[in-house]
């Protein structure tokens, strides 16, 4: 054990070793969450998840922006990781303090580690969708369709991500104390809040794809909201109107 620790101390983590955490999360999630519960190597895990998720989200952002221009490609590659991390920063205190109120004894690091797990899983699922999105990008040019396709992809990836978060929170709140039920409810409500904050953040940081009728812009003017735009996109796709 001592020799093992020495080996780990002298070995510098590489990108590949950071990415190996993804397979650990996907294949051994119980053991992974158990280690988070015990507080084992939280910093190492969080760093690995941060690096992997930023890499994958940047890559998917670049795929999104490629439809519009080179500047949009670079901009989306920066903005997509920013979107997830900013949402995490905004929502993390709520989850942490509400858990504390209902008797949790987890540290903030443990909470953030579980949230980063969700983001990492979301990022991996997005990356796995990248070939499909690339295919549609190269074979179709309908902006509204491409936008809705990505809303669908993000929804699926987000749902899988938050299901991991839910599992993670349940794993670390194992026990018989009376606050467990309340904390589970808090997590579920927090997931709803997280989705709202995330969608509004995405709307604020848009464009990620870049509309064909518009020149590149880093941020678009505020106004409207995510949900009405999606409904309008659907109606345009089905021939009922035009997105204003």
């Amino acid at each position: 054990m001592l020799a093992e620790t020495n080996v780990n101390e002298t070995r510098r983590p590489t990108t590949a070793s950071h990415l190996s955490i993804i397979e650990t999360i996907l294949r051994e999630r119980r053991a992974f969450f158990e280690q988070i519960r015990l507080g084992h190597d939280l910093n190492v895990k969080m760093r690995a998840m941060l690096i992997s998720s930023v890499m994958f989200l940047a890559l998917y952002g670049a795929v999104l922006g490629s439809t519009s221009s080179l500047w949009q490609t670079l901009s989306s590659a920066v903005k997509l990781p920013l979107l997830f991390l900013a949402t995490l920063v905004i929502c993390a205190p709520t989850l942490y303090f509400f858990n504390l109120i209902f008797g949790s004894n987890q540290s903030l690091s443990q909470n953030i580690a579980i949230m980063l797990t969700a983001i990492t899983v979301t990022a991996v699922v997005l990356l796995s969708f990248a070939p499909i999105v690339l295919f549609f990008m190269l074979s179709s040019s309908n902006y509204q369709f491409f936008k809705l396709l990505n809303v669908g992809v993000f929804s699926v990836a987000g749902l899988i991500g938050v299901s991991f978060l839910n599992q993670g929170m349940q794993s670390v709140t194992l026990g018989n104390d009376p606050g467990v039920k309340a904390r589970r409810m808090v997590v579920r409500l927090w997931i709803v809040v997280y989705a709202f904050v995330g969608s509004q953040m995405a709307w604020t940081l848009r464009p990620f794809i870049g509309a064909p009728s518009m020149e590149f812009e880093l941020f678009r003017q505020l106004g409207g909201n995510f949900y009405t735009n999606i409904v309008a996109s659907f109606s345009e796709l089905l021939g009922f109107g035009i997105v204003r």
Binding site: V7, V44, L138
Partner: protein, 252 residues
């Protein structure tokens, strides 16, 4: 006879079980320790290829004081049986690398106009209606700008260039597209110079004197459309019809 056979079978089974248990114990003690993620160790049992191997993740670890959770863990809880890892950890990395290479390749410009493969598929009519959108109906020469909920006609080429519009931003739309939208006041080009109080409408390469404020307002001109320029430039423009028509032009 049958009882004797049964006893013999039991003896054989016991012997077999002893041998299997002994071998498993030997393999367990000789199994290599492989670092999984920094700080996590995995002991892989060496089992025959026909049987799926079982990995044991050891959670016996030293933890820092600040990160240690208050819960106590029993000896049994510290070992969790997990499924095997049949693939290398580089699979995700390889997928990421492939996607990265494709993104770079499809963004390499293919022609002198800088069109890359990612944007080579011709765009369809999906346009976002917002302030500043320029459209031209197919088969028409008129250019319209969307502004504050209505499309306004850009009255001349001079106005188009003077107000900073660019041809590459003009989107061709289907005939009749504009019928669905309200029309705003046309966008003109009005000029004046510092040494003269007079305003002129510029159209068809000529200047048209706007004779009074009433004429200005009744023609529907907007102060936003005025541009201040050098008087010499204005003097050199040929005279057109005054607004209203028939009035003599003043000295510039």
């Amino acid at each position: 006879m049958r009882e004797r056979q049964s006893a013999k079978l039991d003896t054989w089974l016991d012997l077999l079980a002893d041998v299997v248990a002994e071998r498993l114990a030997q393999r367990d003690s000789a199994a290599p320790t492989v670092p999984l993620v920094d700080g996590i160790t995995e002991r892989l049992e060496q089992q025959p290829s026909s049987e799926p191997p079982v990995a044991l993740v050891s959670l016996e670890h030293e933890t820092s004081e600040e990160e240690t959770a208050p819960e106590e863990v029993s000896e049994d809880e510290s070992l969790v049986v997990v499924p095997p890892l049949p693939y290398s950890n580089g699979l995700v990395l390889r997928l990421a690398a492939v996607v990265c290479v494709i993104v770079v390749l499809i963004n390499i410009p293919l022609n002198s106009q800088g069109v890359a493969l990612a944007r080579a598929v011709p765009g369809v009519s999906s346009i976002l209606i917002r302030n500043g959108l320029l459209v031209q109906e197919e088969g028409s020469e008129e250019i319209w700008e969307y502004y504050q909920g209505a499309f306004r006609h850009i009255s001349s080429l001079d106005a188009f260039h003077a107000h900073g519009y660019q041809w590459r931003n003009v989107h061709t739309v289907a005939p009749g597209f504009l019928e669905n939208y309200p029309k705003g006041k046309p966008r003109h080009l009005l000029m004046h110079c510092s040494q003269s109080p007079h305003f002129y409408l510029i159209a068809d390469g000529k200047k048209h004197w706007i004779s009074s404020l009433e004429a200005f307002n009744s023609a529907g001109f907007e102060w936003d459309d005025t541009v201040r320029i050098n008087c010499d430039f204005l003097r050199n423009l040929p005279d057109g019809e005054s607004i209203p028509p028939g009035l003599p032009f003043p000295e510039l």
